[in-house]
């Protein structure tokens, strides 16, 4: 018998203002991380972040 998929019982909508604020912070963090990865990549050779396409 196949496993049942969990359903979203809350069906809570995303609050745009809250989400946009969180996203701004996250975007900054991802940029910092991408800089770090780029710097380390130059030091250590090829890195494996291409799948995520952090820097666009």
């Amino acid at each position: 018998m196949p496993d049942t998929l969990p359903t979203d019982t809350e069906k809570k909508k995303i609050n745009k203002t809250t989400f946009v604020n969180l996203a701004k912070k996250v975007r900054k963090i991802l940029e910092e991380e991408a800089e770090y990865v780029e710097k380390e990549g130059k030091k250590n050779g090829p890195n494996n972040t291409s799948r995520l396409n952090l820097i666009t």
Binding site: D3, K11, L22, A23, R51
Partner: protein, 165 residues
């Protein structure tokens, strides 16, 4: 302008699950207004947005300190808190996928294999949304829909996939 959703995508996915790849969480942080609208359309339409631990880990890794980790976690959980379990069946399906990918599997990330393994497990009840279209070959996956997202410069394209039956 927002994401251009194909006309019958929503009705086809009603009461089903949409599995998100890591690149969706990343792109949503770049364009949160449009992605909020998109996610809320899904929620209103009884489409359950889910993901897997592998994607969550891939997204959270690299956080330079605990505060930033928490901010990333809060953001991620705002999109979905529903994580599908990674169990023995998922691992077994991943091995099956490795065989199916053949030589193409050499460049495939573990997260892609686990996403595919979930499509294999839940079959007609789940679709995958991903921007990483090069790692989802048509020999294994059916591209059911394309979502385009026109931007000031360029267009992002996302595929909505099912496992080939």
């Amino acid at each position: 302008m927002g994401l251009i959703i194909p006309p019958d995508l929503i009705s086809s996915l009603k009461n089903k699950h949409l599995l998100l790849d890591t690149n969706i969480f990343i792109d949503a942080s770049k364009h949160p207004e449009d992605f909020t609208d998109f996610f809320n359309i899904l929620k209103e339409s009884d489409i359950t947005v889910v993901t897997i631990d592998c994607v969550r880990i891939e997204f959270l890794r690299g956080a330079p300190n605990e505060n930033k980790y928490k901010e990333k976690e809060d953001y991620f959980d705002n999109i979905t808190k529903i994580i599908l379990p990674t169990n023995v069946e998922i691992i077994q399906n991943s091995y099956e996928l490795v065989k199916k990918y053949k030589e193409q599997g050499g460049t495939v990330a573990i997260a892609d294999l686990y996403l595919g393994a979930n499509l294999m497990k839940y079959k007609s009840n789940i679709y995958l949304l991903s921007k990483n279209t090069t790692e989802l070959p048509s020999t294994i996956f059916d591209l059911k829909y394309i979502i385009n997202y026109p931007l000031n410069k360029g267009i992002f394209t996302y595929g909505v996939y099912k496992i080939k039956s």
